[in-house]
């Protein structure tokens, strides 16, 4: 743990703070008493309050780096197999990758009945990428932050899916695809669907519009919040267990067992969450393709 006189709540807050780079508004008093000059300043935030003061003009460097890094890991893994893909006898790594591809392909086939070359690769990307992001949860919570602390990086959250920006980023991507395909497949029918469902009467158009738009927006919200909630809670419990280690020697053994137990249980959770995100994406896009 960092620092000698750190309390448990400090420890937890430290673990839940992103490494944020952003623009502080002018006139803001920084942690060391200096005042931000006119026009604001792009700096690394020092602590949660500064990050909050940055508002929207900030970026979570750790979330971004880990998310894109894991995306690149996913792309590289599958691309290396795709390059040497042949109809010959597969072995080892190729087999494992093909099993995942087969699994995703079957799931898409079962759920999505239209013809769209985007759906299957989209599902594969979502499934593997989210799985890898969730997998970071199984890395001991202190390992990477402490190592980076030695290098002078103050904050580090290595599980991108515990950052609502990341989960909402994914679900907004899905929402954009839902809107795109709804309009592409149904055309004007999509507007009619929004306006005349469920009460097919001109008088009810405002009511229908309200309900349908809420329904539409609920999709990305539920996707993002479900993933975020599960991962955030899981991460929180890992942090609490880690904090338990510092409660004295007597707590070491039960904390160890808790750690192992939660980690094993979490293997299930991270896979399940990735799978749920993928399946719901397929279902939503399938609904977008259905023309009544």
């Amino acid at each position: 743990m960092a620092g000698e006189n750190q309390t448990v709540s400090d420890y937890i807050v430290h673990h839940l703070t992103n490494l944020t780079y952003g623009k502080l508004p002018e006139g803001y008093e920084r942690y060391d008493g200096s005042i931000v000059a006119d026009g604001g300043a792009w700096v690394m935030a020092h602590g949660g309050t500064e990050a909050a003061a940055m508002g929207f003009t900030a970026i979570h460097v750790d979330s971004m780096v880990w998310s894109i890094g894991l995306g690149i890991v996913f792309s590289w893994m599958f691309y290396s197999v795709a390059k040497k893909a042949s109809s010959g006898v597969p072995s080892g790594f190729v087999n494992a990758i093909e099993m995942i591809v087969q699994f995703v392909d079957n799931t898409v086939r079962d759920t999505f009945h239209g013809r769209n070359p985007l759906i299957a690769p989209l599902s594969l990307t979502i499934f593997v990428w989210i799985f890898l992001m969730n997998l970071m949860d199984l890395v001991p919570v202190d390992l990477v932050p402490e190592l980076l602390m030695l290098l002078g990086v103050e904050y580090q959250k290595i599980v991108p899916s515990t950052d609502p920006n990341i989960t909402f980023g994914l679900s907004i991507g899905v929402l954009i695809l839902i809107l795109y395909y709804s309009i592409k497949v149904k055309g004007f029918g999509f507007a009619k669907e929004l306006a005349l469902n469920p009460f097919n009467h001109p008088l009810f158009i405002p009511v229908n519009l309200f309900m349908e738009i809420v329904g539409l927006l609920a999709k990305p919200f539920s996707l993002a919040l479900r993933l975020f909630g599960n991962m955030y809670a899981g991460e929180m419990i890992f942090i609490l267990i880690a904090a338990l280690f510092s409660a004295g020697l007597a707590w070491m053994v039960p904390a160890g067992f808790l750690q192992i137990g939660w980690a094993i249980f979490h293997i299930l959770v991270i896979t399940l969450q990735a799978f749920i995100f993928m399946v719901l994406t397929i279902v939503y896009l399938s609904m977008a393709h259905e023309d009544h």
């Binding site: 944020t20 900030a58 971004m64 995306g71 795709a82 390059k83 594969l124 994914l170």
Partner: protein, 156 residues
């Protein structure tokens, strides 16, 4: 837990990775898998066909074998018959040859007998003449008594 530019960054990254997967990852893998599936299906079908062919060939071979056995037994039968026939023919030929040889021997014997008899007869005539001469002490006129002697000889 602030919503900020990370959101936009993640949306961009999302589309980037989906695009990459759709362009370079999914098509080759799925194509290779389908091709392999087809290959395996073809292989299985070929194996089925081959085993069927094998069955047919075995049946045919069995039939051919039966035919050959039948033919062979026919050949043996006819050979036996022919052998018997040859034996019979040989027997008949031998018998007739024996008859012929016997007949010719008989004829020869008869001929020899007759010849001996003739010789004997002529000698008997001469002897008789000589005896009579001795008895009578006189020469007998051969021509005069020739008839007589001839008659005698004929009686022998």
């Amino acid at each position: 837990m602030n919503i900020n530019l990370t959101l936009i960054g993640q949306v961009i990254a999302f589309f980037g990775f989906v695009w990459f997967c759709m362009k370079f990852v999914w098509p080759p893998i799925i194509a290779a898998m389908h091709e392999r599936e087809k290959k395996i299906a073809d292989g299985l079908a070929a194996a089925d066909r081959a085993s069927h062919d094998l069955e047919l060939a075995q049946e045919k071979a069995l039939e051919r074998l039966k035919e050959a056995k039948h033919e062979a037994s026919g050949i043996v039968d006819s050979a036996n018959k022919r052998a018997n026939q040859i034996v019979e023919e040989a027997k008949v030929a031998a018998k007739t040859e024996a008859e012929r040889v016997k007949a010719s021997a008989q004829a020869e014997i008869d001929q020899e007998t007759n010849r001996a008899r003739e010789a004997l007869r002529s000698q008997v005539a001469a002897l008789t003449m000589a005896g009579a001469e001795k008895v009578l002490g006189a020469t007998i006129d051969h021509d005069a008594h020739a008839d007589l002697v001839e008659k005698l000889a004929a009686e022998l």
